[in-house]
C-alpha cells in the first residue's frame, strides 16, 4: 500500500455485490473499506424474496449453514391469469435446498457480520458523493465528511449507480431498460400460511409463485403491458409484488401501486392474502437492459459489480446470485492488480475475462434477446394467450352438452380467425428464438 492511500480497496455499497467483493479482498489479507449510505445494512434494499444456495456458498463457504433464513423455497408455480380464471404449473422438490426466503434487512445484517469477521472495515451512514480522479484514474471517493484514497474502487452502488453515471461508464438511462416493482409484505399467522400453501408444519418449506397476464380487474382492456407478478412465502409473512416495464408505465399512465392493487384483488390471489395485515410497502427498480445494454464494466482504477453493472436476469428474478459472484470476481481481480501494482484498465480487463468464464456473461448473452422479444410480444403473453388458455380449458372442463369435437374445432377456427395470422407467426418466431438462444448459449 502506497503512503498516499488509506486502504488497498474501497467498495461503495453494502448489498450482496459489495459485501462479496469486500470479503474476497479482506480474507486474502488486503485492507478494504466498505462504505454504505444506510444506517442499517439492507434497509435501502428491496427484492422479491429468495437468495440462492450455490451463490452464497461460493462466497460464504460452510457458513451458509448458519444463514438465518425463514423458509426454503422448494416449490415454484407459474400461472397465467385471466379475469376470473387461471392456469398454473407447479414444480416441487421436497429435498431441494436451492433457494432461501430471507428479508434483506436480515440477509445484509448476516452478511456484514461475516464480512467483519474476515476483517472488512465496514462504515455505515456513509454516502459517497463523488469519485476522486487523477490523470484519468479513479483514486478515491469523497463522502460528506472526508476523502478516502485507494488504488482500486469497486462500485456496488446498485441499479441507479449515480457514481458510474458521473464517471461516464453508463450512458443515459433509458426507461425501457428498467422494471419498476412495488411490493407489499403482509403478515399472517404462520399456521394460516402453511394451510393456504399446503406446507408441512414441521418443515420450513416455502413457495414462490410467478404470474403472467394482465387482462383482469382494473387493468382489463389495457394492451401491451409487459408485467410479471410474484409471491413468496416467509415464516409468518407473504411478500407480494408486481414489476412493470418503466416505459410501459409511462405510456399507459399507470401507477405501479394501482397495478399492484389489481393483482392483489385477482380471485386467484386475494384468498391467499386475505385477512393479512400490511406491514411494509416498498418499491425498487430492476435493471432489464441485459447483455445488449451493459455499461463499461471497468476503467482505470474502477470496476462495476452487481446491479450497478446491470447484472440481472429479470426473466427468472435472479440478481443476488449475479451480485455475489460478480463481487467476488472483481475482488479477485483487485487482488491481482494489487500484487502487480498495476491498476490500469488494461490490467483490470482480467475482470471481464473472469465474467466471461463464469455463468454471468454466458447467461446474459444467452438471454440477450429474450426480454426484448417477450416485450415485443407483451400482448400475446399478458392478454391473448391467457384468454385462449381459458377458452381451451372451458371446453376441456365444461360440461356444455355440445359435442366436444365440435367445440374444439370451433376453438381452432377461432384461434386462427381471431387475429391476423401474421401475429401467430410473430409469436412462434419470438418464442422459438428465445428458446434457441437460451439452449445454444455461448
Amino acid at each position: 500500500m502506497s503512503n498516499d492511500f488509506n486502504t488497498d480497496v474501497i467498495v461503495v455499497g453494502a448489498g450482496p455485490a459489495g459485501i462479496s467483493a469486500a470479503i474476497e479482498i479482506a480474507k486474502n489479507g488486503r485492507k478494504v473499506v466498505l462504505l454504505e449510505r444506510a444506517q442499517y445494512p439492507g434497509s435501502k434494499n428491496v427484492y422479491g424474496g429468495a437468495v440462492y444456495h450455490k451463490a452464497l456458498e461460493f462466497v460464504f463457504k460452510d457458513q451458509v449453514q448458519e444463514l438465518p433464513y425463514e423458509r426454503i423455497i422448494n416449490e415454484h408455480t407459474y400461472s397465467f391469469l385471466n379475469e376470473d380464471s387461471s392456469f398454473e404449473m407447479t414444480y416441487k422438490n421436497a429435498n431441494s435446498k436451492n433457494a432461501y426466503a430471507i428479508k434483506r434487512f436480515n440477509l445484509e445484517h448476516w452478511m456484514i457480520e461475516q464480512a467483519k469477521k474476515q476483517g472488512v472495515y465496514y462504515s455505515p451512514n456513509t454516502l459517497v458523493k463523488k469519485l476522486i480522479e487523477n490523470n484519468g484514474s479513479v483514486i478515491g471517493v469523497e463522502t460528506e465528511f472526508e476523502q478516502y484514497f485507494a488504488p482500486v474502487v469497486i462500485l456496488a452502488d446498485g441499479v441507479n449507480s449515480l457514481l458510474a453515471k458521473k464517471l461516464g461508464l453508463r450512458e443515459n438511462f433509458k426507461s425501457k431498460n428498467f422494471i419498476l416493482s412495488a411490493k407489499e409484505v403482509i403478515k399472517l399467522n404462520k399456521k394460516i400460511i402453511e394451510q393456504r400453501f399446503n406446507l408441512k408444519e414441521d418443515l420450513t418449506n416455502g413457495v414462490n409463485k410467478q404470474y403472467f397476464g394482465s387482462d383482469f380487474g382494473k387493468l382489463k382492456g389495457i394492451k401491451n403491458l409487459f408485467m410479471m407478478s410474484y409471491l413468496y412465502t416467509f415464516k409468518d409473512t407473504i411478500s407480494i409484488g408486481v414489476g412493470v416495464n418503466l416505459e410501459d408505465l409511462a405510456k399507459t399512465k399507470l401507477n405501479i401501486n394501482e397495478v399492484l392493487d389489481a393483482v392483489k384483488q385477482h380471485p386467484d390471489i386475494a384468498p391467499l392474502i386475505e385477512d393479512g395485515q400490511l406491514i411494509e410497502y416498498s418499491a425498487h427498480l430492476i435493471p432489464e437492459g441485459g447483455f445488449n445494454n451493459l455499461p463499461k464494466l471497468y476503467a482505470n482504477g474502477v470496476m462495476l459489480v452487481g446491479d450497478a453493472a446491470g447484472f440481472v436476469n429479470s426473466v427468472h428474478f435472479e440478481g443476488t446470485n449475479f451480485a455475489l459472484v460478480s463481487g467476488k470476481l472483481a475482488g479477485e481481480t483487485a487482488l491481482i492488480a494489487l500484487d502487480d501494482n498495476d491498476f490500469r484498465e488494461s490490467k483490470l480487463s482480467v475482470y471481464k475475462e473472469k465474467l466471461e468464464e463464469s455463468f454471468i456473461l454466458k447467461d446474459l448473452y444467452a438471454y440477450r434477446n429474450v426480454i426484448e422479444l417477450l416485450h415485443s410480444r407483451a400482448n400475446s403473453l399478458s392478454v391473448y394467450y391467457p384468454n385462449k388458455i381459458k377458452e381451451f380449458f372451458e371446453i376441456v372442463t365444461g360440461v356444455s352438452c355440445t359435442p366436444k369435437a365440435k367445440e374444439f374445432r370451433g376453438f381452432l377456427i377461432q384461434f386462427i380467425k381471431d387475429r391476423k395470422i401474421s401475429e401467430l407467426f410473430k409469436d412462434i418466431y419470438a418464442f422459438s428464438k428465445c428458446a434457441l438462444d437460451v439452449l445454444l448459449g455461448k
Binding site: R37, S43, L254, N255
Partner: protein
C-alpha cells in the same frame, strides 16, 4: 383509472414505512422545464406520489419526505428536469421487512 382511490391507497401504505427524515430535499425539479412539460410523468409514475402539480401555478411540488429512493422519476422524466440524489448519510427510507 381512479386517481383519487390510488392516491388514498398509496397514502395508507406509506404509513407502514419508517423514515429518518432530513430537513433538506434530495429531489429538486427545474420548474422552468416543468411548466412547459406536457407529459407530467412524475405525477403518475411515482410509487409514493411524491410529485403533485399545483393547479394554479402549474409548478411541481415535491413531497420528498415520502420518497422510496427507487429512481423511477429520474429515469422517466421526459425533460430530465429532476436533479436526483440520495438523501444524506443515514437519512431517508428504512425498509425493515422487504
Amino acid at each position: 383509472m381512479d386517481n383519487k382511490e390510488n392516491k388514498k391507497s398509496i397514502q395508507e401504505k406509506l404509513n407502514t414505512i419508517k423514515y429518518n427524515c432530513g430537513n433538506k430535499t434530495h429531489l429538486v425539479v427545474d420548474n422552468k422545464k416543468c411548466k412547459k412539460c406536457k407529459q407530467k410523468t412524475c405525477s403518475f409514475i411515482c410509487p409514493a406520489n411524491v410529485y403533485v402539480i399545483d393547479d394554479e401555478t402549474k409548478e411541481t411540488i415535491v413531497q420528498y419526505e415520502n420518497c422510496l429512493e427507487c429512481g423511477a422519476c429520474r429515469i422517466s422524466c421526459p425533460q430530465e428536469a429532476i436533479e436526483w440524489c440520495y438523501p444524506e448519510s443515514g437519512q431517508g427510507v428504512i425498509f425493515k421487512n422487504s
